[in-house]
Each structure stands twice: as C-alpha cells, then as structure tokens.
C-alpha cells in the first residue's frame, strides 16, 4: 500500500548514504537533472484529456529524469483513464512573464481593435460575413 508514497519526490538522497548515486559519481558522469536541496528536480506536467484538445497544465512532480517524471505524472495525474497524452518539462526550462511587467509586455495587442471583425461595418442586409 505504500507503493505510491515511494514516488513522492522527497528523496533525501543527499542525506542518505545509500542515495549517493544522486550525485555524479565522477566528473565525467553527468547528473541527469539538477538535484537541489536534497530532493529530486521539479517537473511541470501537462495532460491532454480529449482527442483534439490542447495539453493543459495539471501540476508538478519530482523525479530523477524525464522517464521517471512521466511515470510519476501518470500515477499522480492519470489514475482515472482520462489522459490521452502527457508532457513533462523541467520547471526551470519554462520562461514566464512576470505579473509586474505583463501589462506593458502585452500592451501592443490591447489597442488594435481593427484586428477584430466587429471593427468593420457592413451594409445593412448583407449576410454571410
């Protein structure tokens, strides 16, 4: 019954002598994904729940590498058989706008009503436009 909890991304690898494998064994051997603060790296999970639907953010998991992240994401966000497809992305790889600067950043799109159809007038009675 504890099988699920084992995948909690709380590996105290850096504190646990048995967990030394989390650190590179030699300078040539790369660390799969950065391990910080004694736990596995954070991954963002995106799921597609219907054919043709976009992938939507579901949440996050902690995992050692991409394959592991997908397995954990399936167990956490796909237990009900609704998921058709799943993406995992290292959290640090996502660039995002900041709330403070989002207004000026998106402002160029705010004052162009001529990009919307209701900006244009059509003679009365004309249909199909």
């Amino acid at each position: 019954m504890y099988g699920t909890i084992l995948t909690v991304g709380d590996a105290d690898a850096q504190h646990d002598p048995a967990g030394r494998a989390a650190s590179p064994a030699s300078p040539e051997e790369p660390t799969p994904v950065e391990v910080a603060d004694g736990q596995w790296a954070l991954w963002e999970v995106f799921t597609q729940e219907a054919q043709g639907a976009p992938h939507e953010h579901a949440g996050s998991v902690r995992a050692t590498d991409a394959e592991h992240a997908l397995q954990n994401a399936r167990d956490v966000y796909g237990r009900r058989g609704r998921v058709l497809s799943m993406w995992v992305v290292p959290t640090g790889a996502i660039r995002a706008t900041t709330p403070d600067e989002s207004a000026p950043f998106f402002e160029p799109g705010d004052d162009k009503p001529y990009r919307h159809p209701h900006f244009y007038k059509v003679p009365r009675g004309v249909r199909g436009l």
């Binding site: 019954m1 105290d12 646990d16 967990g19 790369p30 709330p99």
Partner: protein, 348 residues
C-alpha cells in the same frame, strides 16, 4: 522581463510573521507596500484568483502554507487507518475499491504538496516536518479503525466532511493552485464517499451482528467527524483572516452545519442512529441542531494525545525509511541512463 518558473523562495518583503495589523502599520511606512496591499485586497474583493508570481502579503502566503501543508499531510496520514484493512477486505470488490481510494489519498497529498511548492516552500522540508512530528494533520486520523465497518464509515463521514470543506475551496478559494487542486480532489472524492456509504448500507441491511457493527462504527466516528471542521467560530483564531483574504468562504460552524444537514437523512435512510440525544430538526431554519461537542477531546487529540498519534507517526516513518532503497535505486538508475546517453564508459 521574463523569468523561469522554478520555485523561488518568495522575497520576504515583511520578514517575520506579522499579524495583519502590524503588517499594515509597517506597510504604512512604505507607500509602495501600502499600495500593493490595497491592490491585493481589491483583487480579492473582485473575486480574482491569486497566482504564484503575483504579489501577496507575507501573512497571506504563510496562512496558505500552514493550511495547505496541513491538508497535504492529512491526505498522507489518512492512508494509514484504512490501509490497515486492505488485506482483510471482505471481498475482491471491496478490496479494489479500498486500494483505489487509498491510492487516491496519496495522489491528493501530492497535488497539494505541489500547490504548496508554488509558494516557495521546499517539499523536502514539509515532509521532514511531518516525519519528525512538528507538522499538524487532521485529528480524525488519530482514531483507530477497529472493525471493517470503520472503513465504510470513514468513506461516508470523513470523506463526506472533507467534500463539504473542499467543495467550498474548489469554488471560492482565492489562491489559484490550491483551488485547482481542490477541483481535482473533489472529482475523485465523490467515489470515496459513495463506496463507503454503499458498504455501510450493505451492513445495515445485513444480519443483526452486521448492523450492530455498522452502528458501533457510526457511534465512534460521528463526533470526531464533526470536529474535523475545526473549533467553533468564536474559538477559531485563523478563520477571520482566512475569510477576509478569500481563502475560506464559509466558517467552520457553517460548514459543519452543512455536513450535519446532509448526513442525518442519509443515516435515517439506512436505519442507523446518530449518537446525539439532542439532535433535532429546527423547523424555522431547516437545520439539524446538534448537542454540545466535547472540545476538550478535540484539543487533546490535536496536541498529540489521541488514541493513535504515536502509532501513525511511527507507521509513516517506517514507510519512509523502508522506501529509502527505492529512492536510491531510482537516482542510481537515472544517473546510469544519463551516463549512457552521454556515451560515457559504463560503470562496472
């Protein structure tokens, strides 16, 4: 202009945990801080969702971390009382339902840990707090599951109470990641309640011994389930602040009353009695009035003197320790896979 989504400890604009009043007076020294607080409270008033990167008062962040981490811990510890009965479920049908339910509780804990991490909290630290007994979790899970009927009553009462709480959060909570996690939880929780009620209805319609077992479980779980909603409004130190900031929409007593009103007819429908001689329908309000709750018992359990506090903590620690080799193996496997992908010589 842009930044990565990697969790960053939130900038401690107000370093110590300040009560709201102190926070406001400190902010008044700083026009920018005061302006931000006013903007924040206006957003709450408009019913907007607060997202991880938005400015928020430090006190709001701390209240969320406290509430969400206790909630996550409750999901994790909540696996233990029922997990106790998986190997002894009376049929395969009941066993697969219980296995799936207990696995869901693990998932719910992970949804909420994930949400808590958006507030710049280290998940590892939260889990250490649970394992070392510094963290709180719902007091209901410190009661023992003595018979099979307890499993059904937990689904019916405990998950039923949780649904009442969580539905309010899913509809109204001002913090986006918590609110979205609650939507996910509520979708799954309804099965928990229904399988529990089905199990109890079956026992209640069974032999006299089965019905007596169901009634005994109801008698033992009713009052602790009502305590799940927390202390009464006049003794709940956090409620006013949580409601002011839109984290909670309803008070503890309002949610408790909603649960009682839902549950009384369900008990009547299967011929079971709730152990409260004062229980009566108030015709004027439509509410079922309950007798006094033994808050001394509640506080004793919260403070660590419930029937199973030590046992639960020991079981959680044992599970964590016994899983250490799995975590180490996963790390070793990932390191080896990465080395192979880089074309490095294979380690012997």
């Amino acid at each position: 202009m842009t930044q990565t989504l990697a969790p960053t400890p939130s900038a401690p604009s107000v370093p110590p945990p300040a009560p709201a009043a102190a926070l406001r007076s400190a902010a008044s020294d700083d026009g920018d801080e005061a302006r931000r607080l006013a903007e924040f409270e206006a957003r709450i008033a408009r019913g907007e969702s607060i997202e991880p990167r938005d400015w928020m008062p430090e006190r709001y962040r701390r209240q969320l971390v406290r509430m969400m981490s206790q909630h996550a811990h409750s999901e994790i510890v909540g696996m233990l009382p029922e997990g106790n009965w998986i190997t002894r479920a009376p049929s395969l049908r009941r066993k697969i339902a219980l296995l799936a339910k207990v696995q869901d509780e693990a998932g719910h804990g992970l949804y909420i840990y994930c949400g808590t991490e958006t507030l710049g909290v280290d998940r590892h630290e939260l889990i250490q707090e649970l394992l070392t007994g510094r963290a709180k979790y719902s007091s209901i899970f410190n009661y023992p599951t003595l018979t099979w009927a307890d499993v059904g009553v937990i689904g019916w009462f405990v998950d039923g109470a949780a649904i009442v709480n969580q539905t309010a959060l899913a509809k109204h909570c001002s913090y986006g990641p918590y609110q979205r996690a609650m939507i996910r939880v509520c979708k799954e929780e309804n099965f928990h309640k229904k399988q529990g009620y089905e199990s109890i209805a079956t026992l209640a319609a069974g032999t006299p011994a089965q019905k007596a077992m169901a009634q005994d479980a109801v008698n033992r779980w009713w009052w602790p389930s009502l305590m799940m909603f927390g202390p009464p409004d006049d003794a709940s130190p956090n409620t006013a602040e949580l409601m002011r900031w839109g984290i909670k929409k309803y008070s503890n007593d309002e949610l408790r009353q909603r649960f009682v009103n839902l549950t009384v007819p369900q008990a009547q429908a299967v011929g079971l009695t709730l152990p409260d001689p004062d229980l009566r329908l108030d015709e004027s309000t439509g509410n079922w009035q309950i007798g006094p709750i033994d808050w001394a018992e509640f506080w004793a359990v919260v403070k660590g003197d419930g029937p199973c506090n030590r046992e639960r903590l020991a079981a959680r620690n044992a599970a964590h320790d016994e899983g250490a080799w799995v975590r180490a193996a996963a790390s070793a496997h990932a390191a080896k896979q990465a080395a192979r992908a880089q074309g490095a010589p294979r380690a012997a």
